[in-house]
Symmetry: C2
Subunit: 202 residues, 2 copies
DNA sequence: TAGGGCACTAAACAGTGATAACTTATCAGT
DNA sequence: ACTGATAAGTTATCACTGTTTAGTGCCCTA
């Protein structure tokens, strides 16, 4: 029952996505979206509870993109490595999506339902499966696989985060760090989830 | 030459630090700082070029804190592990400092001089030294040490980032992830900085 | 054709960073 | 001691931001 010809909601979403991808998260304002769509900022609040809900919808899109990317990785030999590479590729190809998906703190998006992140995180299950396969003994508990998968994820995320925030040294090439992180993430499988022994490692 | 008794600059800085530590980065506004200091928001601009410059001063404090923490780690056996643990400890003890130091993107702080991060990053040199010592052959190039140190750093940062952003699964304990990350970071030393061989890992 | 509800607008509120113009206090030089 | 320059603020304003409230007009149904 739109008054304006086409329904406004998809157009709002499309324009918001365009702004996010072209000019980044900081450029995404309700008034600008409204301006480019051709309506008032208040109209957005008919379709989204608040600005965070709009951003939330974009984050959902990002998770779907990531999901498709990871699902497309051929299974079998080298599956885990492929998943890691695909994750890093996604972050490089869609830095703006990656930022809003993983980099915004709850303090910056107060009303954002944190649970939704967890629900979307089936890529952790994907990682967990690949890890269980790559492990010699398949007698590991699901919790152990989830824990290892989280470590893999966090390793990749750390490199991506520093790379995107331009924190790494000029003399270091960003892709090199990402490659190193992938190689290191592979070793995360070997980290034993036993109670941490306080001895000296090496 | 203060008109108001005490010089305003340190009081602005102190109040800003208090707000940052108590209510977080998002609560830090020029007007609130001014209000609690007892001056006008415009007065801040006499002592700091802009809000980012004020935050910049706080970030400097954070780097000094981190520096002291890392310098206090006893050298010798287990130095690298001690540095990693100290880094993680710092992030847990000062999450607000950690956020503004490492989590704010340049897009969020446009005018922030990125170079300054690099100048402050002597902890990378500390890590590099510890890595060179822990390595059997000391014939590694400085670039290799820096690269390995960056990988160690990024591994720790990834776990800290996800932990602080509350992105890790409910069934997983945050400290466990941080411990795992430290253990994995130790293995970063073994990652060869050679051109990546496309073979299958394990 | 009358009524009701949906889709939207206009206007405003409270807050943000930032700037220009103005006032006032302090200090140096004569 | 007086004058002038400068430092140290204030006041007022601009251009934004997210969000809410009240009101308007169109469309569909009865």
């Amino acid at each position: 029952m739109p008054r304006n010809g086409t329904d406004l909601k998809p157009r709002i979403l499309a324009e918001a996505r365009k702004i996010l991808l072209e000019d980044g998260y900081t450029a995404l304002s309700t008034r600008r979206v409204a301006g480019e769509v051709g309506c008032t900022a208040a109209a957005i609040y008919h379709y989204f509870e608040n600005k965070d809900a709009l951003l939330h919808a974009l984050i959902d899109e990002g998770f779907e993109l990531l999901h498709d990317r990871l699902e497309a990785v051929p299974k079998g030999e080298g599956h885990l490595r492929g998943l890691c590479a695909a994750y890093v590729d996604f972050s490089s190809a869609n830095p703006e999506f990656y930022e809003v998906m993983f980099h915004l703190h709850p303090t910056q998006m107060e009303r954002y339902p944190v649970e939704r992140y967890r629900a979307q995180r089936d890529y952790l299950a994907l990682l967990g499966n690949a890890i269980n396969v790559s492990r010699q003994e398949s007698a590991h508990s699901p919790h152990s696989a989830l824990r290892a998968a989280t470590l893999v994820w966090s390793t990749l995320h750390g490199a991506i985060s520093l790379h995107q925030a331009m924190r790494i040294d000029k003399s270091l090439r960003g892709p090199d760090l990402l490659d190193d992180a992938i190689r290191l993430a592979m070793r995360a499988v070997e980290i034993s989830p036993l109670p941490s022994q306080p001895g000296i490692s090496s």
